[in-house]
């Protein structure tokens, strides 16, 4: 008869990217502001984990539970709470989070041009194809995967992607790839006159680009923590 020595299970840790919402008092006004800001991109929070930062408000556990129910009505599911001191009565609340690392501030676009018009079925497709050009002031936000733009991206326009970004025209605006923490994401463009390139919150501005890459076909990727840009071909 053989005896099996019990192997201790490994405790593993893994970090994830989550949106953070920071409620302000009065809560009713803050909810109204939230409604207004997610109006043009309703699905933005619904498929992604959200953490609540309660450091700016002073609510008891019942009030927090009520707030979480209110968010639930907006399809926002709360993964955890930070900024409250445990007092023992928060058993029915999501876990308390600590030592969060600050990520990139995420501006909701004033016109979510493409995300809105994509029918439900296509949202499951990991990459997004924009056939036309992206004009100044427009944002294409696609946190679920790659974005491909066939036309140019104007100065003052931005592309934000969870994965890589491919631009077949001239990139004059901003491109942020790997926004949800994918440091293997890359940016490719046919003609680079970009204002800013960013991958996983490491960025370079136009002033930092090598002059010989101006108006050239380029790719950008992360080498460690450094955004690296080189000509293609």
């Amino acid at each position: 008869m053989s005896t099996v020595t019990p192997q201790p299970l490994p405790f593993r840790a893994r970090s994830y990217m989550a949106f953070v919402l920071s409620p302000q008092q009065p809560i009713a006004d803050w909810l109204a502001d939230l409604d207004a800001s997610i109006e043009c991109s309703k699905s933005i929070y619904s498929h992604h984990p959200v953490a609540l930062d309660m450091s700016a408000v002073n609510l008891n556990p019942d009030e927090i539970a009520h707030l979480i129910a209110n968010l639930g009505e907006r399809s926002i599911r709360v993964l955890g709470i930070e900024g409250i001191t445990p007092i023992g009565a928060e058993g029915k609340l999501p876990p308390i989070l600590r030592a969060g690392r600050v990520g990139q501030t995420f501006q909701l676009p004033d016109q979510t041009v493409v995300v809105n018009s994509v029918p439900e079925k296509q949202q499951k497709v990991a990459s997004l194809l924009v056939e036309g050009r992206v004009r100044s002031g427009q944002s294409i936000v696609h946190i679920d995967g790659d974005v491909t733009v066939l036309g140019s991206v104007g100065s003052g326009a931005e592309i934000i992607a969870g994965g890589s970004i491919h631009i077949y025209g001239t990139l004059r605006g901003r491109a942020s790839a790997g926004i949800t923490g994918d440091n293997r994401a890359r940016i490719f463009c046919h003609r680079a006159e970009a204002e800013l390139l960013a991958i996983d919150s490491h960025y370079k501005m136009a002033a930092d680009f090598a002059p010989d890459l101006q108006s050239q076909p380029i790719q950008a990727w992360l080498e460690g923590e450094t955004l690296t840009i080189s000509a293609i071909n």
């Binding site: 016109q111 041009v113 050009r133 004009r135 100044s136 002031g137 427009q138 036309g151 140019s152 104007g154 100065s155 003052g156 326009a157 001239t170 004059r172």
Partner: protein, 271 residues
């Protein structure tokens, strides 16, 4: 079938009002029934350029608020009997414009005129968005320099998303009108080239209006440049643009130093 045009740009001072007056007068000289509508509530200018500032009694806001009938607010041009102006209010503010009110006025103007040309205020606020709201086509006035071109790109994005036509899934016709084109500066490379502007905006070109003192001269005496001196270079460029609006194919002339040969000849003689 009436056509509603918006003359817009985003940036101020590029020539929207000048172009509205010049194109309106050019179309009217061609026998079309035209009304030019000033949407710059609180900072109206079109009445001055049209030389009608002493005859403004009622304005667009009065019509929207039901204080005056449209026929009372329309001012007939003294030079062309088929050219009218609907002035803006100088006292009101942009919040006085309502979407329903503007819709009603535009609908009524459609029944009376061949062309309704709306002079948009600068910016992307209420006045500008309502000026473009009901347009069938847009003229994007751009100077060949980077800030003007970027603002125009922004405006084109709004035209493609915030107009009634765009919301119905139709395409709004867009025309780029390049104004204040200075051929000597272009030759020295001190300006964006026409090709650069069109590459960035990727819209068809309606015309290129050369920089000229004739424009200032005409506005000082309250006359559209196409009426004040019809043979001047900017007036001829506006007449060509008006014919292109009507669907005619007119060869596009890039204003150049056409008199540079003369300058050289006479320059030598004088020396």
């Amino acid at each position: 079938m009436a056509k509603v045009l918006v003359v817009t740009s985003g940036k101020g001072g590029v020539g929207k009002t000048t172009s509205t007056a010049a194109l309106g007068a050019a179309l009217a000289r061609d026998g079309q029934n035209v009304v030019v509508v000033d949407f710059d509530i609180g900072l109206r200018n079109l009445d001055l350029i049209m030389g009608a500032e002493r005859r403004v009694v009622f304005d667009l806001i009065n019509v929207i608020n039901g204080v005056a009938k449209l026929s009372q607010a329309l001012i007939r041009d003294k030079r062309l009997e088929n050219l009218y102006l609907l002035p803006a209010s100088q006292t009101g503010d942009k919040d006085a414009l309502t979407e329903d009110g503007v819709a009603k006025v535009i609908e009524e103007l459609r029944t009376k005129f061949d062309w309704v040309i709306c002079d948009s205020p600068a910016g992307i606020e209420r006045g500008a968005t309502l000026a473009m709201r009901y347009a069938d086509a847009a003229i994007i006035v751009t100077n060949p320099e980077v800030s003007s071109v970027r603002d125009s790109d922004r405006i084109i994005g709004l035209l493609d998303s915030k107009t009634v036509k765009a919301e119905r899934g139709e395409r709004i016709d867009k025309h780029v009108l390049i104004t204040r084109y200075d051929s000597s500066r272009a030759a020295r490379g001190g300006m964006l080239s026409i090709d650069d502007v069109l590459e960035i905006l990727s819209c068809p070109l309606l015309g290129i209006i050369p920089e000229s003192k004739e424009v200032l001269l005409a506005s000082n005496i309250g006359s559209p440049v196409t009426l004040n001196n019809a043979m001047s270079a900017p007036a001829r460029a506006y007449f060509d643009a008006a014919r292109r609006l009507k669907g005619e194919h007119i060869h596009m002339l890039v204003p150049s130093e056409s008199n540079s040969i003369f300058n050289k000849l006479f320059g030598r003689k004088a020396a």
